[in-house]
Amino acid sequence: MIRVQKEDFDIGELLSAVKSPRVGGVSCFLGCVRDSSQGRRVERMSIEVYEEMAAAELEKIRDEALERFQVEEAVVVHRYGDLEVGDNIVFIAVGAAHREEAFQACRYILEELKRRVPIWKKEVSPDGEHWVEGVRPG
């Protein structure tokens, strides 16, 4: 399951979605809005997305993770729009037979997302708005 949405998500529901009788371990990552960045106070954040491409790219990354780490199921949800400090941004959950593959696949999805998925953060600080410098694709 891949979702790119404005609304918040239900973590319990997403964790349940990767469980099955074949799953012995679930690994997950939750990203949320921090109140500081590079020495600046962050008051809120605005996230922009190239929606059609982001969903397609996330599907590719998910499929790569399933194949590469032989995990059972993976879900990724990324939010966009205006967010406050503490709000959820992204959630990744991976269900696998064993913990090692679950951890590895979860990490893989996160790192590839940060490298390839067309999403941009703009932080709002007391001195103005700042686009977050992206990770260069290698």
């Binding site: 190239y50 790219e57 990324h78 996160l110 941009w120 686009w131």
Partner: protein, 80 residues
């Protein structure tokens, strides 16, 4: 040929545009289209990293652009 150009992230601010439609020469490659867009929008010219997606996916700079295609220009991504 007419092509839809979209801008995202900081590039939307730098160009002042979300999208525009441009006439590009037949046989134009992604790299050539990028040069034309940089000439058209000088604030983009100084950007070290300009990523391009053709019809919603990363391709090769040598890929040919065709009538009705969608080209998106944006800075390195920063999601997650």
């Amino acid at each position: 040929m007419r092509v839809r150009i979209r801008y995202f992230g900081q590039f939307k601010d730098l160009t002042g545009l979300e999208e525009e439609f441009l006439e590009l020469p037949e046989g134009c490659t992604v790299a050539e289209a990028r040069e034309l867009v940089k000439q058209r929008h000088p604030p983009l010219a100084s950007k070290e990293q300009i990523l391009v997606a053709l019809n919603g996916s990363f391709g090769d700079l040598g890929d040919k652009v065709r009538e009705g295609d969608e080209l998106a220009f944006f800075p390195p991504v920063s999601g997650g």
